[in-house]
């Protein structure tokens, strides 16, 4: 044990040296605070972090992150980053909205950007990144309605907050649009646009909940389920994997889960991609060449900020007619002919 202790001291001395060196280099540093769920959630936090990694590769910047383990960590985490020398602090998630605003007002010289929150009035040192997710979710709803054998779709969310329910709104409206066009009667369980009530796990980290909620929806007849709850959806994917994709298919969110969840990739019909990596990268670029200012950056179908992922292995299962209809609707949404929200 003595040996371990003395060698630890030697390493401590080494580390001091190392620290000194890294500070001397002082590259442009981006620091990210994740929401609960972890940086490796295959979904929400991971996609936003990918933006920093991409910037690392393209611009040679430094990137650091701090995981929030509970909501109580937000302020503390921001605090420990303000201590360090971050040129830009990116917070990931609607729930960090208040903490980010407070930190930004207390530290007017520090630049912040937040995913999923827009401030009104604008805070001069925060750039909010928001997404017209309902545009891509509308396409997913139309697709799912066209693919369902049971004519029943399922959806559930993490927490009843706007960045989550916007997926559910778009999905339900897409299915409704399908019914309208085809005179069909596909129903969506788990979310009511009118009452703003539905199925919510009330967390973004329990895979068990993801499984249980998907099971409930499946028991009620749904054969395609959209979990909007970050890593919680991985639990739903595990259920689909066991049941087989003839009985249950999953639609991923945030990232293209076919790529980020390779073990269960065969269960994903498609994913509603919210390209946080693209907007984070864009924000970092703006901060680097000093075009950064407070306000809002909107990701939509038109600028590639949101999109529907490829069908990959299910390419052959989706009828050609449905594909061309989707392409038509996609163009319609971009041109403004089709309204995804009233």
């Amino acid at each position: 044990m003595f040996i371990h202790k003395s060698s630890a001291f030697r390493h401590a001395a080494l580390a001091c040296l190392f620290l000194g060196m890294s500070q001397a280099a002082s590259a442009f540093t981006v620091c990210q605070v994740t929401d609960t769920g972890g940086i490796d959630d295959n979904s929400f936090n991971q996609t936003a972090w990918k933006g920093v990694l991409d910037a690392k590769e393209q611009f040679g910047i430094e990137g650091r992150f701090l995981e929030s383990q509970a909501e109580t960590d937000y302020e503390a985490n921001l605090n420990s980053l303000i201590e360090g020398d971050c040129d830009l602090i990116v917070t990931v998630g609607f729930l960090l909205g208040d903490a980010t605003q407070k930190a930004a007002l207390d530290n007017p010289d520090q630049r912040f950007s937040i995913v999923d929150f827009a401030y009104d009035p604008v805070v001069p040192n925060i750039l909010g990144q928001v997404y017209a997710t309902d545009e891509a979710a509308f396409l997913a709803g139309y697709l799912a309605a066209g693919m369902s054998q049971t004519k029943i779709l399922g959806v559930f969310g993490g927490i009843n907050i706007p960045p989550v329910t916007i997926f559910m709104d778009g999905f339900v409206r897409g299915a409704d649009y399908y019914n309208e066009q085809k005179g069909d009667s596909v129903s969506v369980l788990g979310w009511s646009i009118e009452t703003r009530e539905g199925l919510f796990t009330n967390n973004f980290d329990s895979l068990d909940d993801g499984r249980a909620f998907a099971q409930n929806l499946y028991d009620e007849g749904a054969d395609i389920v959209l979990p909007v709850a970050g890593p919680v959806g991985l639990g739903s994917a595990a259920l689909a994997d066991e049941l087989g994709i003839e009985k249950l298919k999953i639609i991923g969110v945030d990232a293209d889960l076919y790529l980020t969840d390779p073990e269960k990739r065969h269960v994903y019909l498609t994913s509603i991609m919210k390209r946080m990596d693209a907007t984070v990268l864009k924000t970092i670029e703006m901060a680097r060449n000093d075009t950064f200012e407070g306000g809002v950056l909107v990701g939509a179908l038109a600028n590639g900020g949101v999109d529907l992922a490829p069908f990959h292995d299910m390419e052959a299962l989706v009828p050609e007619s449905l594909k061309s209809e989707l392409a038509e609707i996609r163009a319609g949404i971009i041109e403004g002919r089709i309204k995804v929200a009233p």
Partner: protein
């Protein structure tokens, strides 16, 4: 009664004399070694997960820096320690009375919720009235919630471990429900989140004049006061003696004329009041509102704090500071060295394992202890 008390304390003194160094070893030496072993094992775990030795050292330097290395670090350590000590004191008091209360988490939630509701409901009151009122509401709600388990134990013999765990589960859903009541929920939000606490009900931040990022707040005085009060209750008051007597031997205490039912309910209520204060401390000092997960596992960490502190108020204070330091330093560790903050959870757990197994620590560090182990029971 007074006579018994004197005899008891005399016995205690004799025992302490006899136990001498061994008692000191159990209370002080074992915890220190437990922390050291846990840190070394933590380093080995990092090594096993392919973290280079230089980065391991860097992470421990960051752990130190992030916990005591700057004013902000100390402020964060105190902020994290405050609720752990408060809840830990309550649990320690319960342990002394022979009650293994797992329900601090639920009591924190109920206490914090009550403090928030009182805070925004009477926002017109002056800070001099509103802050104490909110704190009192927190303590009362915690005490009442814990008393349920106490009463069940006293009246039916239902074990408090089971009932408090169940009450935790109930409290989560109860909180979800309450946070969505129109009178509680923040305007314009669909997710469960309470209205904000007005400034008059907030525990004032102590150093915000120096730097607005310093979060340490007046709750630290509450903590110190609680340590003194719990010490007095346990070792200087009649009810405290009854707590301890029941804890040592419930049967004997009953034959000595101590009414066990009242003792159980009183001990649970006091523990709940302290946990409720911990919750109030969080919402009034740190968060400014209630959200579903605002207890953040403090109630469970506090069990570890109470155990590490050997159920002694001063021990709990020190253990709480250590856990607060680990939490604050752990964040710095992740920022500076990129080592996951989950490692801190592992180190905390390892500390508890070694505390719970003093013989193991003695076996690892034979030179740290006296050869003849005259341990007391």
């Amino acid at each position: 009664m007074n006579e018994t008390q004197q005899t008891m304390s005399l016995n205690h003194l004799l025992k302490a004399q006899r136990g001498g160094r061994s008692r000191f070893e159990d209370l002080v030496v074992v915890p220190i070694f437990a922390v050291i072993v846990a840190l070394i094992l933590g380093a080995l775990i990092m090594l096993a997960t392919n973290v280079e030795p230089a980065r391991i050292a860097q992470s421990y330097v960051a752990l130190l820096e992030g916990s005591v290395g700057s004013l902000n670090a100390v402020s964060e350590t105190l902020t994290a320690a405050a609720p752990l000590v408060l809840a830990g004191l309550g649990l320690a008091l319960g342990f002394r009375a022979g009650l293994f209360n797992i329900g601090a988490e639920g009591q924190i939630l109920m206490g914090g919720m009550a403090a928030v509701v009182v805070g925004f409901s009477f926002s017109s009151l002056s800070p001099m009235a509103l802050l104490p009122l909110s704190l009192l509401a927190g303590a009362l709600a915690g005490a009442l919630y814990a008393s349920i388990a106490g009463a069940l134990r006293a009246a039916t013999g239902a074990h408090e471990v089971i009932t408090t765990i169940m009450l935790n589960l109930i409290s989560y859903r109860l909180l979800d429900y309450m946070l969505r009541l129109p009178s509680v929920q923040k305007e314009g939000r669909a997710d469960p989140i309470s209205k904000s606490v007005p400034e008059a009900a907030e525990l004032p931040r102590l150093l915000s004049a120096i730097d607005p990022n310093l979060r340490v707040h007046a709750g630290v005085f509450l903590v110190l006061l609680a340590v003194v009060v719990v010490y007095w209750i346990l070792f200087r008051s009649k009810i405290g003696f009854e707590f301890r007597a029941s804890g040592e031997n419930a049967e004997a205490a009953r034959f000595a004329g101590i009414r066990s039912g009242i003792v159980i309910v009183a001990a649970m209520a006091t523990a709940g009041a302290l946990a409720g204060l911990a919750g109030a401390n969080q919402v009034l000092g740190v968060l400014g509102r209630a959200t579903p997960g605002f207890s953040a596992g403090i109630g469970f960490d506090a069990i570890a704090v109470a155990l590490l502190g050997r159920s002694h108020p001063v021990g709990v204070l020190l253990a709480g500071l250590l856990f607060g330091a680990l939490e604050a330093g752990g964040r710095q560790m992740q920022v500076d060295a990129g080592v996951s903050i989950d490692l801190i959870g592992i180190i905390q757990a390892l500390i508890i394992v070694f505390i719970a197994a003093p013989l193991l620590v003695r076996a690892i560090f034979p030179w740290g202890f006296r050869k003849t182990t005259g341990r007391e029971g």
